[in-house]
Symmetry: C2
Subunit: 460 residues, 2 copies
């Protein structure tokens, strides 16, 4: 494809996306197709090139019906995955430049724009100063958790790089921590038995610090080696917030790496009125917040900071001959390949940069505050309805509710709303009780959407 | 940004990329900037949104001078990273749709288009039938190697998931294998001591199977547990090809997982005349080829197949309550989150699909064959010049050469060409000798570019 063809077809693609975004709210949120339908509609890869029109036609005919629409204003499932249009254009520029930023020298701008933004966000989010210079973009919070764990293992043992894990390492999560932490322990060779699941307060679902303290002491007494604690600010199930400051004190006593996972709630740190949720973060060893969830940035872009980039790099680096270069050897540059699982890397900072410049920090804050406000409205409506109740307190823009008649009624209402197509809700289980999660956060969601979803739930 | 604004600005962005691609050949391939220059040019994140013009201006003013141009026709460094324009548009569509395909149900099309293409490529590349149904897109070959290793560990021990690694596992590579395999062993908790680096034939740099056989036997005799052998088809240094069939026989005797890394050379399997390089692949347990290197697909998109998807999924799966859904529980669908390190995933198949439909299989073959032919020309020119010689035989489109006067002369010539700006070459070390790698593979590279680079090398 020559640049002039790209110019013409590219305009069509842009228009296709604009049209899609204009009409996405009229589509059923969840795809209605049966397993195998999409495949049944697809042609073999052609031997001869066929132009672009067929692909665009198949998008309309097959892909759109086969898609669950994460950008739909009625998407309240999981957590939002904002793919704001300026971030889409930033990502397009990244693909168009086609650079691969594994080393500083393979594209200095790819590295330095990222360093600049990650340092700027330390200030904008009120993060601890010790994270300055320690920021890097990861693909997802799962990968961020894994690299944090590897850094913790390396800090915990001089011989981890050479000899691997010992089998006496232990890792601490709460019963509400995201499954990616337990999975990271498995991938790192620790086994699931190394993971201690600490109980939570039944009222808030936040980690029980006394139970954590006791478990760590018990492990130390029996010769185990505590490596990492993961505290969460905004759990996936209900948005619970672990007491980071108290957890940090326990970690400090035992020299344990404290990773703070704020994959969803992290962007709220841009709003001074929410900073209290991040109390104690200055004692964390690493911190993760996903720009690709609630922060208007097209998937995938996870913001990760560590106070110990030297440890992280030392854990992950390897330098074969074919990657040697004078810039690296000068020590004057950062090579981000040593900060992540893959070797190669996209210029992801471009989609973050374009989003931040388009909206400005005030625009992003308005986006976050708007959803918190809508969730507050929903919360007030639930409280005013005697047939429904909040299962746990609202957390930012996440409302977790259930019908007073019990699990069957709650599930039936959720299923009815999901079947109707104008909203998509998912569930969790809280203290054994089935509950609906309403995660407000799509860019296009307005009060009338939330009102309609609530009316549908009540009448179901 | 509203759809109508996106339409207008999107057209400008498309035009910017078209202009960039039209002029990229006139820019110096390598960025000429000093460490820190890019950062020094960047403004703070604005408080108020500022539109898109400033970003585009900064691309011209800061990013382009700060970029090493991987799409430049004079890019012969590392391996190519083809970001063909139809794949750029496919990736744009992925961002525009903004779906997150962690589960089948979160976007059936994201999963099923990928399944379709991966199965189709089994046929198109002449891959073993046992890979059908076992294909998945990974971000990079490094991640592919890591998931292969985790699957191998799980297959090798019933208790790996629960108890982690034992410390007696061993992994086998050659001295020429990509560093990502040793790194994967470190990340998986095995430690570098678990990795046996097997010697190679000095003439071809392919793995010495007798040495491999002896090392495995010696390890087994001393109570170690061989887990994985990585064979490479097209090593990073020189494009060497390991004898997969013979290595597979050794693996079969000991029940060892055979991972075949063809990150760069893999797409050549689309050409029947190159299939001999893949002899024995039907005995491999997993196989990796990067579409984002030499196969016209914008980074990142690594093609990975395993003959044992059940083992892979069992190694990586974890199912918390908030991800439960009826489609998953029916068993009728694939949830690709269980096939990879991250949880979330982009609709990467779109950029592969758009590329394959635009060029057709014949177009991709023509791309590959054109580079092999250019490398053959360069090979003939080197052979005809008594001051230069091939250090190892040409491998596909990779030519590894050195000046007969020794390392200083070779390095000086490379540095002179790189400083001049119209070509970018990197190096390797072969049997202790400094050698220039000429990896031909940019989409725009033509004979006159290779000729000019060769003339520049000779006159340097």
């Amino acid at each position: 494809m020559q640049p002039d063809e790209f110019r013409r077809i590219g305009h069509e693609v842009i228009d296709w996306i604009a049209d899609y975004r204009e009409r996405v709210g009229d589509l059923p949120v969840r795809s209605q197709v049966e397993p195998g339908w999409v495949r049944s509609q697809l042609a073999p890869i052609p031997e001869q090139g066929e132009g672009f029109a067929g692909l665009l036609a198949d998008l309309d005919r097959v892909v759109v019906p086969g898609t669950t629409h994460w950008q739909h204003p009625g998407f309240y499932a999981y957590f939002p995955s904002n793919a704001s249009l300026p971030s889409v254009l930033g990502d397009l520029l990244s693909s168009g430049l086609g650079v691969q930023g594994m080393l500083w020298s393979t594209s200095p701008a790819c590295t330095e724009v990222e360093q600049h933004l990650m340092d700027e966000l330390v200030g904008a989010m009120g993060l601890p100063e010790r994270f300055t210079g320690g920021g890097v973009i990861q693909d997802t919070a799962s990968s961020a958790a894994l690299v944090a764990m590897l850094a913790a293992l390396h800090r915990g043992s001089d011989k981890w790089r050479q000899s691997g894990v010992d089998g006496d390492e232990t890792v601490y999560v709460s019963s509400q921590t995201h499954s990616s932490i337990e999975r990271a322990a498995r991938l790192a060779g620790l086994g699931e038995e190394s993971v201690r699941s600490i109980g939570v307060s039944p009222a808030t679902l936040s980690m029980d610090v006394q139970a954590l303290t006791d478990q760590i002491q018990s492990d130390v007494d029996s010769g185990r080696r505590p490596i990492l604690v993961c505290a969460t600010i905004g759990t996936t199930g209900t948005g619970a917030v672990d007491p980071v400051r108290e957890i940090a004190e326990v970690c400090a006593r035992h020299g344990i790496w404290l990773h703070v996972d704020a994959a969803w709630a992290g962007p709220a740190a841009l709003c001074p009125e929410q900073r209290h949720l991040f109390d104690g973060l200055e004692h964390a060893d690493s911190f993760c917040a996903n720009a690709h969830k609630w922060m208007l940035t097209a998937f995938d872009l996870s913001l990760f900071w560590t106070a110990h980039p030297d440890v992280l790099v030392d854990a992950l680096t390897i330098l074969p001959e074919y990657l040697r270069n004078s810039a690296t050897e000068s020590g004057a540059v950062v090579d981000y390949r040593d900060w992540q699982i893959p070797l190669g890397r996209r210029f992801r900072a471009l989609k973050l940069w374009s989003m931040l410049r388009w909206y400005g920090l005030e625009g992003v804050r308005a986006h976050l505050r708007g959803h918190v406000e809508l969730a507050g409205l929903l919360e007030s409506w639930v409280e005013a309805d005697e047939r429904w109740e909040l299962v746990v307190p609202r957390s930012l823009s996440l409302v977790t509710l259930a019908h007073v008649d019990g699990d069957d009624a709650t599930r039936a209402a959720m299923d009815a709303v999901n079947a109707e197509g104008s909203a998509f809700l998912t569930h969790t289980v809280v203290n054994g009780r089935f509950a609906i999660r309403v995660a407000i956060g799509a860019e296009a969601t307005r009060e009338h959407h939330v009102r309609a979803m609530w009316d549908a739930l009540r009448s179901a």
